[in-house]
Symmetry: C2
Subunit: 283 residues, 2 copies
């Protein structure tokens, strides 16, 4: 892609900070500007070298931006894009990194002027950690970024946003916002809630004996509760569908054990081992 003049990152947590580090290391833009809510975070981002400039003044930070990346929690992405629109008069591209997409993409279509071309993005590259302190330049290397353009999205903007995420080392794939949300509900949001349920169902005495298997299975439950709450609300119906799907299999499995249905129990265990093996190599 042609080198960008200025990328502005709104939100300097794990994703925003890592993105700044990756953009600077790979010389994707001449200037990387960061926007934080608190001036202490802005100062820390400068010290870390995560950005060239950091500020709490969103209007100043986006005034000269070619591309704005919003890396804050899902429910804040539309209001922040609106703030970008209010603070600018020039053409620019907006993308984001939120874990849910349909509500955001619909919101953008409702509130943004046509000079702002927005393309939903979701880099699948977080971890259960959060905050600028956990940021690392290699976070995106080889990971997948899901883009969620619609028929209303400018193909030129899609091409540029695709080039942007590839420039920090990601593979990209495109799907509709609704499809993205349904897939993520199943492979990320439901697993989080299932892991939280496992931990919640466990007593402290039981937990004291837990070994690596339990630790692996429940690691995602370390994630920020406020972010996960936001994900549940902004992807509510897909999350409910995915949870119902998992519950159905779990109840089915419990009944196979209760009714001593050997064939059915073995079938589920063998099938899930075989399917899970396809993921090996990805950890």
């Amino acid at each position: 892609m042609t080198r960008l003049r200025q990328v502005t990152i709104i939100g300097l947590g794990l994703i925003g900070g890592s993105l700044g580090l990756a953009l600077r290391r790979r010389h994707v833009a001449r200037r990387v500007v960061g926007v934080a809510r608190r001036s202490a975070t802005a100062a820390q981002a400068r010290r870390f070298g995560a950005v060239d400039r950091a500020t709490v003044d969103l209007a100043a930070a986006v005034a000269d931006a070619d591309l704005v990346v919003i890396t804050t929690p899902p429910s804040t992405v539309v209001p922040l894009a609106e703030a970008v629109a209010r603070a600018t008069t020039h053409e620019l591209i907006v993308t984001d990194a939120a874990s849910t997409k349909a509500a955001i993409v619909q919101g953008w279509q409702r509130v943004l002027p046509s000079r702002i071309r927005a393309v939903g993005g979701h880099p699948l590259a977080g971890s259960e950690q959060s905050g600028l302190g956990a940021a690392e330049a290699a976070l995106f290397d080889g990971a997948l970024c899901v883009l969620t353009p619609t028929r209303q999205t400018s193909p030129e903007a899609v091409r540029r946003v695709q080039g942007f995420w590839r420039a920090v080392g990601m593979r990209t794939v495109t799907m509709s916002p609704a499809r993205h949300d349904a897939v993520m509900a199943m492979i990320s949001h439901a697993p989080h809630l299932v892991a939280a349920s496992l931990v919640a169902a466990t007593t402290p005495a039981e937990l004291a004996v837990a070994a690596t298997g339990f630790a692996d299975t429940t690691r995602v439950a370390l994630g920020d509760p406020a972010l996960w709450e936001d994900i549940c609300w902004t992807n509510r119906s897909a999350v409910l569908d995915a949870l119902a799907r998992v519950e159905r299999v779990l109840i089915h499995l419990r009944q196979a054990i209760a009714y001593r249905d050997r064939e059915e129990l073995v079938k589920i265990l063998v099938d899930s081992q075989r399917k899970r093996r396809r993921l090996t190599g990805r950890g």
Copy 2:
């Protein structure tokens, strides 16, 4: 502990092979003998240096043993201990490494002569891998071994079995067989079945997008289906209870989302993050 003359390990998979390596490295016994079902496995164990001698002849392998460790799947532990009794006339101690304990300990009390003093053991040190090829001497280092003596168990035998597992680097804790099974159902068996359900509920297209969070949450589903089936049957009622507990929380969580009960959702997410943090440091 006083150095043992001969330890015989029945079963040369991940646990048996690792135990042999650890015993030899730490000079816990003058001689480590292994028993495999197949002569190819016995030969491989000798090549690996996992044992001093390996054979498929159980009777020959236990004839001079002070201590026999049975590391085969749960449902085979009682019949193998019976075979040890038939093959010997001297006093000896038996322990095992199976994931379920009540059925085994009851079985031992039913079938073993008093000269064979058996103490249930469960080293919490496996992984989703299996087989001798995955064996490593350090597998037990710092991990916890649960011992499950009853009022009928000789205190002297408990002390010696405790010393044995500590000699390969483990910490030990003692609980009743029933308590062990209830705890393991909650922190190991239910998590496995939940992980299997997550994978089973997922379509291949969804799986293709799965990232590290899904991989972590479902890693245990890579475990050997035959072993897990055996665990489900030998710990059936505790597994059913644990699954019901997890299901209750999961349904509760789904209803909190369905009824937009913010307070309840946040409570579960915050509580589970807090509880899960206590595990950090253990992976």
